[in-house]
Subunit: 303 residues, 2 copies
């Protein structure tokens, strides 16, 4: 297991963590100033700064990406809506490619309209079928430009509005169906490269799962390709006062971060630990400098 | 599939649904007045009315129980705490027996102290182990008095504070371990009687689960004993504003109640559909009469 206590070499900042404090340009500068080597930006932040400008700023500061947030939201009320979603996912892939992201994170969507409080339908089985078809179509394009897609299983409390893929097992089942590995050859180097279709494992969404350890081992269990494309950290607070924006800083909640990191490293993951905290009533209200400094300190002491 | 549209023969009211409006005695009277045949009361409500008085009131009105809420909360910071939990579960079994309940519902507990915001430990694997041992010990007593225990898998958003059993699959795995069925003989009648250790299926907690249909079939799949001991209904609202007390009335949310009832009836469940709604900002604020009348109407039209 890697030693994180001496530096923050493997720390990445998901830019949502300080989105209320700063625009993307400032986030990039503040991360670079602290020796943080990677970020994972959101599309709306990139759009605000401009794609070319973001790419230049990343190049100038030497920052790399640990992922790009996000594609997905495949289900829709009608065929036109589903087609629009596919086109939007192609644009997201192009942007991710321009920025040099290692993967596009997919928040797959669920009952269309539910996020606005008015679902067009309530058949979650249908939503899951539309997600499957949407990923299959998007994967063909992702393959053509060699950009991995990372399905992010979301916590079951988000199952109606944001994602109908809610466990790691379910995500891996879909990966195995759409991107079978059996025919793929091992590389001569012996290193296990990422899959074209894998998972973004956010501990906030999966920490509770009784099959977590087993499914993490499964994700890294294939000799030629690794399904673990990204790893997100924060913490689960007791009590949690909001279903979306009450995430805790690592160490302030009940998630066994060190134990889970051991599992994912045993499964072959060797990338960044990306901090992603949505926090309406705490961290989004604090100075961005304090948030980043705390992320660095907790990365060393807790993650 | 049973036809619920003509009457409310299979409606039961979990007494938490109108607990803010009425004491238990009044709840019993109001249910009886409406021809509701069953309730599932909570221990604190029974204690307030008195156990003997509750039993008499049920007898006088002809109401039966669809379950008794609740045992569980097995994990504790130390051995004394775990012992106290076992004794309390024995008392709950005795009460359930006195009241003629068909089962004691178990909300198994999780990280001790987490409900008060200060967990004594954060090892959910340890909590799961303590739950296993607690159920095993309680089952021995339950067997001696022939009172089935119904494990209620709770929504993963309750995993830290209230229950570390969070999927139907996990609950059934534990049932199979602690109460194996293979040696049990089929009854001559052909009817599948309840298991001594089974599950209480509350759609609020499990509706999102991609393995729900498969695991419901498994719960009813043994030829000699049925694991499905209780069925609770309400609805999942979009948005959901609180992790505990923002449940919806059947028909007001996104749960496919009719579809799930078909699955459980195909799996051999033939008991009550018990309405259990915690609702700080809506149903607990309305007159109890309106809530019960709405439950009856929705039972016929939606459940």
């Amino acid at each position: 297991m890697r030693d994180f206590s001496q530096d923050h070499h493997w720390l990445s900042i998901n830019t949502a963590t300080v989105r209320k404090q700063w625009p993307l340009e400032r986030i990039i500068d503040e991360c670079a100033r602290r020796g943080i080597r990677a970020i994972s930006p959101w599309r709306d932040q990139v759009a605000a700064l401009g794609l070319a400008q973001t790419a230049r700023r990343l190049r100038d500061t030497g920052l790399e990406l640990s992922g790009y947030c996000r594609g997905g939201f495949f289900p829709a009320a009608d065929a036109a809506g589903r087609q629009a979603a596919l086109l939007d996912n192609r644009r997201a892939i192009d942007e991710a490619k321009t920025l040099g992201a290692p993967c596009l994170v997919l928040v797959v969507g669920s009952l269309p309209g539910a996020l606005a409080g008015k679902p067009d339908y309530t058949d979650i089985g249908r939503a899951r079928s539309e997600v499957r078809d949407g990923i299959a179509a998007t994967l063909a394009y992702a393959r053509s430009v060699d950009l991995p897609l990372a399905i992010e299983p979301l916590h079951p409390m988000q199952a109606a509005e944001r994602a109908c893929i809610n466990t790691l097992e379910q995500a891996l089942d879909l990966c195995d169906e759409l991107d079978p590995l059996d025919g793929q050859q091992a590389l001569a180097s012996g290193r296990t490269p990422p899959c074209l279709l894998g998972v973004a494992l956010d501990i906030y969404h999966v920490w509770w799962d009784p099959k977590l350890q087993q499914q993490i081992a499964r994700a890294g269990g294939h000799p030629t390709r690794n399904r673990l494309l990204a790893y997100h950290v924060c913490d689960w607070l007791t009590p949690t006062r909001d279903l979306l924006s009450d995430r805790g800083m690592m160490g302030d909640g009940v998630v066994e971060l060190r134990k889970i990191r051991r599992w994912i490293e045993q499964a072959g993951y060797a990338g960044y630990a990306e901090v992603e905290i949505f926090s309406d009533t705490n961290w989004w209200l604090r100075p961005g400098e304090e948030v980043l400094d705390t992320c660095i300190e907790r990365h060393r002491s807790i993650v």
